[in-house]
Amino acid sequence: MSAREPGFATLAVHAGAAPDPTTGARATPIYQTTSFVFEDVDHAAALFGLQTFGNIYTRIGNPTNGVLEARVAALEGGTAALAVASGHAAQHLVFHTLLTPGDEFIASTKLYGGSINQFSHAFKSFGWEVVWADPDDISSFEKAVSPKTKAIFVESIANPGGVVTDIAAISAIAKKAGVPLIVDNTLATPYLWQPIKDGADIVVHSATKFLGGHGNSIGGVIVDAGTFDWSATDRYPFLSKPRPEYQGMVLHETFGNFAFAIAVRVLGLRDLGPALSPFNAFMILTGIETLGLRMQRHSENALAVAKYLAAHPKVEWVSYPGLDGDKYHALAAKYLPKGAGAVFTFGLKGGYEAGVRLVSSVELFSHLANIGDTRSLIIHPASTTHRQLSDEAKVVAGAGPEVVRLSVGIEDPADIIGDLEQALAQL
């Protein structure tokens, strides 16, 4: 290659991959094996001591997963990455590497509901306390900072869609507080937005969604931006202190600007164990080859659908930042010039009954709880994912009775709109 930096589409197809050195296989092989033979005892010792690059056991690393990791790191503009079993596993390992019991982290109130659950309940039993802040009021992040704060967590575009987070502004607060900014970039993907350029120190993904993109594999990725100075204080001992697990090695000193990616692997994935199957890594890698093409089409289709719905007499409101006049349109113009993604919500004038009726009347849309599939997806949160919440809590969570969420697929836009049209006609 020339000295010129390869473009996004080239990286999406090539980064991290090369023809297999032994067989010449051009597609990345699925190394479906638990373990790898050592050349001799010295080689084994060097691998276990983190002295040499190489493969030991698929819970710690696998060559197929390694290609996925290097590719997502390249697409996000990070130094290194780690692929894990799910988006939630990625979040768990990130916080495990940063926090000890009694620590706090600040999280946006505008997050995927599953992440709100994970932070509020599951993390409590680890002694990690979440402090909520509202991205519509940036000063609430600053007010939430305490001496116990170890990290800030936001989503770039927040699920259930429509919210665009001002990452540069929140990054400034994180820098002032001396803590890393973690951005869940699942809904935007690096094609639409590279949060590292706006100050993210760690990026996480549910690769289950647009990275894989075809609704066939659960997976997660953690990207190290290489930007955070873990040794500036002694608040991140996994990185800055001698580790008893590795004979006193100091990971930041040893691995420099990719130390976080190594730490989540050798102190997180190794010990907590949510490894990604190499088969899933292969499926996600194959999906990523067309990431740019798909995200462009997803965004164009979503904008067309949002415009259609905004003009429909049975629709009360549409929350899509790609629409002129939307609350987040200015942020979308700044951060998402190529498009505002596929996922958004809208409200039906007919309320709860209309929502239930709509999801039962669609033919092309699939009624399910996922997003980020090639197929168009629909859900009525109040009757499904958010059913157990009180009416009041539903509204706060953006899942009021009239709300419908779409993940617009890459089918022909006329067919997507046509399906909504026939379904709306039945209300």
Binding site: M1, G16, A18, P19, R26, E39, G54, G66, A73, A261
Partner: protein, 180 residues
């Protein structure tokens, strides 16, 4: 030359060309970065001489420590410096005083001294600063991708096995042997 960044071809030619490397400021402690670098380079086929007056004569991982660069028993192709930046001029003095001059002065990540670099270049040495030869080798061979690291290289050519076991890749220019 400018030392803010290097072309991959420049680094590859250096790492492909040198055979004997002296590591100044090497540690005998197996979890120190200098130890990890020198043992890795030795594993990848380089002849490595750790240099550290406090460890002179000690043998670690099959490598024998020398008291000084002048005490290294063979001609040195490359000197890799694991010392704080303020020591680089003095190391360079020792390099330039050697009977057979090394071809390359390399200083580790975080170690940069542009004045010393200019002096070394005027004396005919090639210089690499603020880089790690282990990372560069891992990047250019592709091995570092096994750890999920973004190697910032792209190639549709087949990587070459070193021929010394399966988990070792060479940095030799890729492609079919018949074309080389």
């Amino acid at each position: 030359m400018n030392h803010d960044s290097y072309e991959d071809a420049y680094i590859r030619a250096i790492l492909d060309g040198v055979r004997t490397i002296a590591v100044v400021g090497a540690s005998a402690n197996p979890v120190r970065p200098s130890y990890l670098v020198m043992t890795y380079l030795a594993e990848r086929g380089y002849t490595v001489y750790p240099v550290n007056p406090g460890q002179a004569g000690k043998v670690v991982a099959g490598l024998t420590f020398s008291r000084s660069l002048a005490d290294v028993p063979v001609p040195i192709d490359m000197v890799d410096v694991f010392r704080a930046p303020e020591h680089v001029p003095q190391v360079l003095d020792e390099v330039l005083a050697l009977a057979q001059r090394p071809k390359v002065l390399w200083t580790q990540l975080g170690v940069r001294d542009d004045a010393a670099a200019a002096r070394a270049e005027a004396a005919g040495l090639q210089v690499v600063m603020n880089r790690c030869p282990k990372i560069e080798y891992g990047r250019l061979s592709g091995e570092i991708g096994w750890s999920g690291v973004n190697a910032r290289t792209i190639s549709a050519r087949r990587p070459k096995l070193m021929g010394q076991g399966v988990q070792r890749l060479s940095i030799a220019t890729r492609g079919p042997a018949s074309e080389r």
